[in-house]
């Protein structure tokens, strides 16, 4: 079963490496077909990936990948009061990686694997992001977690919503008279 799943992804990549898939000169219906095949390949590999994380890193069951996190869409984290974020790094050495999670709360406690508190930022979803995601997502804020990952390691962060208010500041830079730059604190 495992092999079959990998084969699906491998074959999807094989097909997608046709010259028009690489250069973007395929017709629109072909674009949709490449996208569909790659999605099926990735989805087929998800079970295997989760099994590896459960076996090698004692991760829990039920991992999901929100494909549209970059435009603040993830219904599961928008409604959860607590959740865990897992970051697997395929690189050979440490990285700092900034994870963006759509949420609706305004303050969170985040701890790493050894229980240390991790600094996070809660930022309002920008109008531009709302413009892109349209009616596909309703998160009001984004939780930005800076994850420090080690090589070939799986770092996890426990996230719990708290109720002690907002911790971000916004300045609006506007020009009001000639070349003066005037700011207002929001």
């Amino acid at each position: 079963r495992g092999d079959l799943a990998e084969f699906k992804l491998a074959s999807a990549f094989g097909v997608g490496q046709h010259h028009d898939g690489i250069s973007g000169t395929e017709q629109e219906h072909v674009v949709s077909d490449y996208t569909r095949q790659l999605h099926r390949g990735r989805t087929a590999c998800r079970d295997i990936t989760n099994e590896v994380l459960e076996k090698d890193f004692e991760a829990s069951k039920g991992a999901i990948n929100c494909e549209y996190r970059n435009v603040s869409i993830c219904a599961d984290t928008e409604t959860a009061k607590e959740f865990t974020v897992g970051v697997y790094s395929p690189a050979s050495h440490a990285f700092h990686y900034h994870v963006r999670v759509p949420v609706n709360g305004s303050s969170y406690d985040v701890t790493n694997q050894v229980g240390e508190k991790v600094p996070v930022d809660v930022v309002p979803v920008s109008d531009n992001t709302k413009n892109i995601r349209r009616n596909r997502g309703f998160a009001k804020n984004e939780l930005w977690i800076t994850a420090k990952t080690d090589g070939l390691d799986f770092a996890t962060f426990n996230v719990k919503e708290t109720s002690d208010g907002l911790d971000f500041a916004t300045f609006n830079v506007k020009e009001t008279s000639g070349n003066d730059v005037v700011t207002s604190l929001t």
């Binding site: 990948n65 599961d76 996890t156 916004t170 830079v173 506007k174």
Partner: protein, 289 residues
Amino acid sequence: GDSNMIENENYKISFGSLGVESINGMPITNELLYFNSSQGYGQNSGAYIFRPNKTDPFIINAKPSVEITKGSSVEFATVTWGSWASQVYRLWKGENTVEVEWSVGPIPVEQKCPWDSKQTCKWGKEVISRYQTAIKSSDTQGRPTVWTDTSGRNKLLRTKDHRACFNLNTTDAETGVAGNYYPINSRIAIEDDSNLFSVLVDRAEAGGSMREGSIDLMIHRRITADDHRGVDEPLMEPGQFGDGLMVRGRHFLFLGKSGSLDDKPMEEKILMKPQVFLYPGQTFQTKSS
């Protein structure tokens, strides 16, 4: 006060009513602009062919809005040119790069016809991000030069309107743009004796340098005419809602002394991006390797 500025340990960026004004004290501007596609005469621009119909791109908005937000691990500024073009400049604590997240689309293609402003006609647009710096990147003959990568492995110095192995004859003289755009798979950079400005991309784009100290990167296209080179349809993807594709991506800027810039770790990080898994409704401890 300093609230028109964002900074971390390595960078200080100031903003004004035109967007970015300087990075670490060097005058640097960055704009989202667009070329109108050639269509209706000679070779159309399209999926196979890039052929803008003018040398200078159009401005989307001469006065973008700027909003600065400061948090505990990040300071960022959102510059908005319009409902379909915006960028966010982020400075993370401790990072040695400026993260620029661009969001473009859906690109409007309806506009007044040049020959009769009462009529509307469809006109393709090819959107670029243009960085303009004070770096003296021209060669001894005054021709702009730019470093581009070759499939992410080597660097190649490109000189405007020039080819090392044959005499380039630019037939599309009025624009001269297409022949000076190159494939950018991971990095594009300009430098002079003292400074180097490098931009890493998170996907293959096209780019070049049309004047001294400047870097163009093409980030999105929407074209209403077929270029008749084989795909038999215009590059006019409907996107998620049928009114055009919306795309979001990132550039990573590096500014430093020539010879001292190390953007290789970032290049590797972009290529080997960590995978994120979410476990809603539960918290647990894992075993680190």
